[in-house]
């Protein structure tokens, strides 16, 4: 018993959470009003759109098609790839690195990676050309020793170079609590109110395998909902993306993590393109890192041999095979 009079029980209503139907209806009304006002003011736009079978509300899908066609024909309207052409091929960078490692002090691979990415990448994020992506694939394989691919089995994200934002922990099974997600600063982000795009990771605590625990710990979020063929190639795409391993590289400091795609988002109007779990963000940039530029490539790992988590490439040094190349 709360001890309140019947006329005061309204105070118990949770005013921080609005029911879904209420929110949807509010947004639908707002949407209709906005649309009506726009076309009342500018009826010629409606006519223009209709003649081209275009819907302003679906303009993102149209944009995806335009950009997709541009990428296919190699005629992307972005800045030229002069930076890539003027750089030495990745194996020469590695050779230089290997030679330097014989002298004292050796150049840290991370510095080389950051330096090279700075030369290759534009200051502002944008979709990369195939040529740029190919160069980065070879760079990652050489320095990070992770077989990373911008296009894997014909699949490609809308962009491989974008902004990542901090996400909350995901509920792994019914009844999961934040305290069960570890300890320390990674708990500060809290738990997402809803589930990830693929629901619970396991049906119960006892069904949660160590592998699934790692999957949530190192989860990544990508904008599958904006893929141009997302709605037409189901359920294939949903299955293909589920827990798909991705290499995430902070382009400013070279910190790298192998994550697993476990949610869809963020919304396009958040100004971000990807999301990372508290652990992913902590490794990429530390406790105060909430948003930053990253590269995200698929990990080509058919044998499931690449572990999830931080890529500690400074500690392991360079592959022996490069000694032969040098």
């Amino acid at each position: 018993m709360s001890g309140k009079l019947p006329t005061q029980t309204y105070q118990d209503i949770n005013d921080t959470k609005v029911p879904f139907d209420y929110l949807r209806n509010k947004l639908k009304v707002k949407h209709l009003e906005t649309k009506k006002r726009f076309y009342d003011k500018h009826p010629h736009v409606e006519e223009f759109m209709a003649q081209r079978s275009l819907d302003l509300g679906k303009i993102r899908e149209h944009s995806a098609k335009v950009l997709g066609a541009g990428a296919m024909t190699g005629s992307l309207l972005f800045s030229p790839v002069q930076a890539v052409k003027s750089l030495p091929p990745p194996h020469e960078i590695i050779a230089k690195l290997q030679t330097q490692s014989l002298s004292i002090p050796p150049e840290v691979p991370q510095e080389t990676l950051v330096d090279t990415m700075t030369k290759v990448l534009p200051a502002k994020t944008r979709p990369l050309t195939r040529e740029e992506e190919k160069y980065l694939e070879r760079l990652f394989e050489s320095i990070l020793r992770v077989p990373a691919r911008a296009t894997l089995e014909g699949e490609h994200l809308n962009t491989t170079y974008g902004l990542i934002g901090a996400e909350q922990h995901l509920r792994r099974y019914p009844g999961d609590t934040i305290s069960a997600h570890g300890e320390g600063t990674v708990l500060k982000e809290g738990m997402a109110p809803g589930l990830g795009a693929w629901g619970y990771f396991a049906s119960s605590r006892s069904a949660l395998s160590p592998q699934l625990e790692e999957t949530e710990r190192w989860y990544a979020v990508v904008q599958t909902l904006y893929l141009p063929d997302w709605n037409t190639r189901q359920p294939h795409l949903k299955n293909w993306y589920k827990y798909r391993k991705v290499l995430i590289v902070n382009t400013k400091n070279g910190q790298a993590v192998v994550g697993a795609i476990s949610d869809s988002g963020p919304a396009a109007w958040t100004g971000k393109h990807f999301g990372g779990s508290p652990e992913v963000m902590m490794h990429l940039g530390g406790e105060r890192y909430k948003k930053g530029q990253v590269l995200i490539f698929f990990v080509d790992d058919p044998g499931n041999k690449v572990p999830l988590g931080p890529v500690e490439y400074n500690k392991v040094g360079l592959p022996e095979s490069f000694l032969f190349q040098v």
């Binding site: 929110l23 947004l27 736009v45 509300g57 109110p193």
Partner: protein, 107 residues
């Protein structure tokens, strides 16, 4: 790639937080995201076309149709309108964010 020429001007963090609190499934979340997205497109285009002289509408719409991602459209609009269009869009998004938050938060 899903990109529009004014994407970099849109940051609706609080609206996102409200939606995250409410949506219990990914489908619910995406439905609400798309509604907000569509409201934004109509509001931005309304603001732009209100300011742009009628004689340039057809030209702008054609350019937009051909390359909705092209950020140089901002430069084109600024030239035709004679005002800082980036700032106009930013302000419009700010007003929309205020309206949405006011409506979405139950008193």
């Amino acid at each position: 790639m899903s990109k529009l020429f004014y994407d970099h001007l849109i940051v609706l963090t609080q609206v996102e937080a409200e939606i995250k609190k409410t949506a219990e499934t990914p489908e619910e979340k995406e439905e609400l995201w798309k509604l907000v997205d569509e409201i934004i497109h109509h509001r931005v285009m309304e603001k732009v076309l209100d300011k742009l002289p009628r004689a340039h509408h057809e030209d702008f719409l054609t350019r937009f149709h051909e390359a909705p991602h092209d950020e140089s459209l901002i430069g084109y609009l600024t030239q035709q309108v004679g005002e800082n269009v980036e700032e106009l869009i930013r302000r419009e998004i700010g007003e929309l964010a205020y309206e949405l938050i006011k409506e979405l938060r139950r008193k």
